[in-house]
Structures are given as C-alpha cells and as structure tokens.
Amino acid sequence: MTATEAPAAPPRRAQSRLRRIESRQALGFISPALAGLTVFTIAPVVLSIVMSLFEWPAWGDRSFVGVGNYVELFTSHPDFWPALRNSAIFTVLFVPLNLAVSLTLALLLSPRIKGRAVFRVLFFIPVVTPMVANVLVWKMLLQPNGLFNGISTSAFGIELPSFLSHPQWAMVMVVVMSVWQGMGYNMLIFCAALEQLPESVLEAARLDGATGWRMFARITVPLLSPAIFFTTVMTMITSMQVFVQPQLLTGGGPGNATIPIVMFIYEQAFTFQQMGLAAAAAWILFAIIIALTALQFSAQKRWVHYEV
C-alpha cells in the first residue's frame, strides 16, 4: 500500500460506516468477475478432476473407474506415449530455435536501424493473424510441387524430400512453421528489455574496453537474463500446448509422427468420445508443465541475474 492510497482518517464511527458501504459496493464491482470465474474456471476444474476418475462418454452411462484412466494411459494406451514424445520433441526443437531467432533479431533491430518499427510490425504480423491462415500458406509452400521444391528443382536440379509425408521432416516443418509464426512475440519482449538495459553499466563496460562478442556474452546476456528466463518459461509452456500447427499442417501424420499431446486429448474427447480419458490426459499434461516450470525456477539461481 502506498501512502497516497490511504485517505486522511475520518472520525472512527464514520470510518467504519464508510467501510461497510465500501465493502458492499466492492462486492457489487467484483461479482461479475467472481461469478464468471466460478462458473467457467473453478467449476470446470473440479468437474475435470471428477471426470478423469470416470469412464465418461459424451453421451450415455458413466461409471467410476478411480485412477483407471491414468493407469490405462500410462500402461496400455497405444497413442499416449507417442503423443507425449511428439510434444517433447517439438518443445526441445522449438524453444531454443525460437529464442535464438527472436533474440538475434531483437539485437539486430537496435536503435541504429532506421525504420525498425516497420520491421517489428512485419515480424509480428504472423503472431496476430489466424493460425489457420498461416498454416494454409505453409501447406502450399511445402507441397511437393510447391515453391520450395519448385525453386530447388528448377534452379539447382535438386529434388527436396516430400516434407509433410516424411516422418522426420514433417516434425521439422511443424517446428519451422511455428518459429516463423510465433517468434515475433518473443522478439518484442527482447526489444523492450534491450531498451531498458542500464546505460551506466554498458558505459562502464565500454570504458573497460569490452567490445563485440565479450560485450555480448559478459554484459548483455547477463543483463538480459531475466527476460530470457521469462521467455523461456512462457515459450516452453505454450510449446507443450501446441495443437493447431500439427493438426492442420500434417493432420498428426504421417502415422502418428506429429500428434502432440493436446491433439491426443482433443481426439480422445471429441472423436472417440472418451471424455474421462481425455480429462486424465489433460491433468497429466498440466502436471508435466508445472514440473518443468518448477524445475526452471529452481535452476534460475544459477544463471539469472536480477541485480542491476
């Protein structure tokens, strides 16, 4: 509480009366948000826990199975582990690539670049356009007779692999498309962080003769480490939740090579009508995300510098 927030104290009785009125009115102000949150977040969370303990078809009879859904996912469901593996592969490829590209671009777009606002907008456009539209464009580019293979064959005589129907290339292309689509967001965060670097520290480093790579590795990166930490955590969370890119670019294929865990959840619930199983899988995903995030937070002491 700041000092400005506390009004000069009126006489005690008047104050308590005012308090009561204010409390009642506060309840009025808060009730739409509270009601919405209760109905649309808290109730579904509770329901989700309950559903995960039942065999819960979209229509028809439900039966209690305890932790049966969880056991089935881990031990006997043929698609669960591949889906987890795909999400893990996507995250391992996507997060470093995304951060490297977005940080490099942010560093390049320093104030010395004229018209950098235009570049920023350009790099940001795919972030805010419908993902479906972005995916359709890439689907066209990646066709066997699309632009990439067309240029490669007609200019260099090299036949490129059939990207979207090749087990490994399909995942690579989902990652590449996702980096193109999403890195503008992190780039803007890095741009904002770079503009806030304390000039005094940079100046001191310059006076001490730091230039080029040393300046970058010893000064800029440590100063940026809170922003890098924040973007790493956020990007990892969103990449564990990837859904639209593989669903529309490859349909999860070939085979199940690119089905991520969220697509697995979606299919279990709305294609195979196994809503209890899907709820259990969603909780497993949530637990993994929480664990990974906690891991990153505990590791941050080693490399994130907050003192400026």
Partner: protein, 305 residues
Amino acid sequence: MRSEVIADVTGRPGELQVAPAADPSPQKQKQPVTAGTVIAYVCVVLAAVIFAIPLIYAVFSALKPNDQIFAVPPTLVGEEVRWSNFAEVFRFGPFWTYIGNSFFVAIAGTIVVNVVSTTAGYAFGRLRWRGRDVVFVLFLVTLMVPQEVLVVPMFQLMQWFGWVNTPQALILPFAFTAFGTFLLRQFLRGIPYELEEAARVDGAGPVRSFVSIILPLARSAVAVLTVFTFITFWNSYLWPLIVVNDYGYLGTLPIGLATFAGQFGTRWDLQMAASIISMIPTTILVIVLQKHLVKGIATAGIAGR
C-alpha cells in the same frame, strides 16, 4: 521514452522508471556509419525478406489462376492477375457468415472482458474490503490453468446448459480470464488517490467516481486490453471447433477457413484469397495500434521479472 511507455500502461512511473540516460541522445545517433551497422542492416533486410516470402507468395498466389500456382518453374505473377478470386471466395460458401460471426464474437467478447476487468480491477485496486487479498490470489491461481484442461469439462458444462452451438457458448466461457483483471488492477493502483478523494468528499460513491473519474483515466489500459482480447477472439480456433457444430450458422473465420480448405483442397487460389482476407483486420489493428501493442507486450514481459 521507456519510462513514459511503462507509465502509460501501469500508471506507475515511479516503480518501473528507467534512467534518462537510457535514451540514445541526439548527438550519439550521429556517429559515423560503422561496418557493424552495415552488417546489421544487411542481416535485418535479409531476415525480413526470408521471413516475408510466405506472406508475399500467399498474396501473389491469391491473384493467380489455380492451375498456375504450382507452375514449373515457379512464377511470381501468373498469366493473368485475377482479382476475381477474392470475390469468388464469397460464392464458395457462407464466407460472409464466417466474417460476420467473427466480428460479432470478437466485439461482444471484448465488451464483456472490458466490463468484467475494469469493475473487478477497480474493486481490487482501489476499494478496501475484507478478504480482498485472498480472492485476488484465487484469481491469479486460475491464470495457471491451461485451456486444454478446461475444454473437456467446459464442453460437458455447455451440454448441461444446453449451450452447444449458441453464440453465448462462443463468447462467455473464455471471457472471464483473470488476465484483464490483473492488468487493470495494476494500472488503477497507480492512479493517485487524491483524484478520487475530492469527488468522495463531495459525496460521490464508488460507482460515481468509477464511472466519471477512474474509467476516463484508464483509457490506455483499456486500449491495450481491447486489442489483445479482440485478436484472441478473432483468431481462436480450438474452442469454436469444439462447441459449434453447425458451421453455416455459427462458424467463425478460422473454422470457416479450415473447413473451406477441406472442401476445396484443390482450389489453392481461393484458399489463399480467403486466408489473406482473414488476416486483414488484425494486421490493420497491429499497424494502427503498433505502439500500444508493443507497450502491452513490454509490460507483460516486464511483469515476469
């Protein structure tokens, strides 16, 4: 510049202030062009060109006859420039319905989010009441629940409410996120209490001072929230895909685009034209409100520090 920017969003110039020296002074910018600057320019332009290829190619493909999109060797412009592709999109399906639904859902959703976030932000940020901090922590905790955990039980709820395939099912379930409340609370806390005090002394209650004093001062926070919310609703795909089953009635643009691509898999020209059309509103929004967006993201990023 930066401190202004932050103050504009959070209303707390003091907390996030940056040393004035952080601004590049005019003299400094006049330094001679170094090799480093030239290399940076070359890299940026190169990156921009590579980055823009899919976008540029999409625009030109939308203007080609379909049989020339995959011509060998690839061409930028086909034998004719077919602006009519854009008109034809609307003849191939209820595309106007998709656009209308998207606008309706995005605008209605934005209104709900703003009403809920400003009132709750006011209660958390400027009123004193018992249990405030406990309820606020509850709000923050809900921010951590991912959409994937929610969609399955949410669909079950929609069935129980009888809301499947209704407009309110598209708008309400994800309109009560705590993010807006959090943003507004942070912003409103930074407004000096004296501004409200004068009105309170004159007998205005919280409602009056909220409407006539606080809301006008919160404009820039509301602007940021509006842009983010509109874009989120405009682009959302997973939830509409689940809760709508009659796309001709309630399909939004991303849904329409996906089914459109499924139905006309061979008409790449129309798919590209439709994709371009769907990109226009948010792209305009970003170009016009570029500064607000950058501020909003900067604040979001800083909030993580």
